[in-house]
Amino acid sequence: MANIISFLVLLILGYVFGQWAERRHFKFIQHRERLLKNILCFNVKTLPSYDTAPDVELVVGNVVISIDYFKRIAAGLNNIFGGRVSSYESLVERARREAILRMKLNAKERGASMIFNVKLETASIYKGNGQQVGSVEVYAYGTALIDNH
């Protein structure tokens, strides 16, 4: 009985706080995306033509985001029936946009306005109880073009 109660409490806490945190995170991401709008990202390697050669530098951004208890249980249920695991979709979406933002911020600090050959890596890092992975890491990296005059 005690485990059932603690399970339900965790589930409700996970849902309430998880949803709240996710909404807040998305708002925060959107806000910063507007601020960093002038840093452009492309995953092509061909650089635009230039008169004076710009400096290049590797810029990176990474983030590890964990899933809440409710979504973890929901994903466990998805695993039984198959199909889309919607709870993880929003998780990786958040992580990816956050990582790109951090890369952009990195580029901005160097006075760059364009990043080329952007690549994204995803890794699940923490294997917790019963091989359930609770967190994903997204790593974004690219080459920033810095005007040197």
Partner: protein, 104 residues
């Protein structure tokens, strides 16, 4: 919508780069498929169920990427990359990304 994983399109000129577009989906296989895969792991051979599942999911991630590209007015996505990661036991994330462009 032209999808390619090279950076230039023969006979076409890229007039605008519109930035990166992404498509992702996380899919799990159902428990029946897990059991069948367990048997297959003994004898070896192709796991048809998983092949189909991953392919289907990858198509969806490309479809989502194209949806993004269309939403921002592109008519081609170049330099498309795929990445697959196992997010949790029994579920895989299929991710596709590329640069949305306007070609003429």
């Amino acid at each position: 919508m032209i999808i390619t994983n090279i950076e230039a399109l023969p006979g076409k000129t890229i007039v605008k780069h519109l930035g990166m577009v992404q498509g992702n989906t996380v899919r799990a296989k159902h428990i029946g498929r897990d059991l069948m895969a367990g048997f297959k792991n003994i004898f070896g051979g192709e796991l048809k169920g998983y092949t189909e599942l991953l392919q289907e999911a990858r198509e969806e991630s490309v479809a989502r990427m194209i949806e993004q590209a269309q939403a921002i007015g592109a008519n081609a996505v170049i330099n498309v990359r795929f990445s697959t990661s196992s997010i949790t036991a029994g579920a895989a994330e299929l991710f596709a990304y590329g640069t949305a462009v306007v070609i003429e």
